[in-house]
Chain length 113, copies 2
Amino acid sequence: MAADDLQVHQCDAAITLAFSILGKRWNGMIVAVLGSGPLSFVALRRAVTGISDAVLSDRLSELADAGLVTRSVDPGPPVAVAYALTASGEELQPVLQELGRWALENMAHIAHR
Amino acid sequence: MAADDLQVHQCDAAITLAFSILGKRWNGMIVAVLGSGPLSFVALRRAVTGISDAVLSDRLSELADAGLVTRSVDPGPPVAVAYALTASGEELQPVLQELGRWALENMAHIAHR
DNA sequence: TTAGTCGCTCTGTTTTTCTTAGCGGCTCTG
DNA sequence: CAGAGCCGCTAAGAAAAACAGAGCGACTAA
């Protein structure tokens, strides 16, 4: 009977979709650091403090599959691989920036483990 | 020598902070559904399709610790618990909405596993 | 030659997440 | 009153993800 039970609240499909990518550890940070320009594998590993090679490799594949980043190989001879954002990735940037602002204003005090 | 190596790219601390919460599975969705008003434990579980009791319980504690949601008990007699957003949680709403818009425009085509 | 960087992958361990089951308090039905 | 069901959890074990660390092929710089 409770009226609020008759109203079926369901999680927005768009949000669910967004968090199927961003809701995984590291993905948000990877996209955020790529926001300031293409980076090599090693540069990414350095930028995203704490991530391991294996996981970074995994995440980059996922992000590539999802169409957020591209992997381009320049066979120098010293073969160099560069990861960069796609248009989709770029469009995510302003949202990430606001997220950053929010965190500064609302989470700065949180003692992080 | 390489100029791009001298420039130390490091992941923005604010983004890292934000994703220490939002980068965990379910958290974003929980905050998003609470955006449309306080909900009971069971209502939340129904709204966030796929989450289990144990994990929802865990996540709610985390979100409460982080100051994003509150847990208020009304000892009816039929004891009723309501979870709601704090001011911090509310401020996250607009960002989540933009994230939803972004997902619609950029991820709708992704075949989701 | 030796040492070092880059871009990974493989192995095995630890952490996280998930599934399943159950419990006490309450209400609703017969 | 005796089930049966909903609410709000928690405990225990299994499955999945993340982790550290070693190693490897191709290359370069000393």
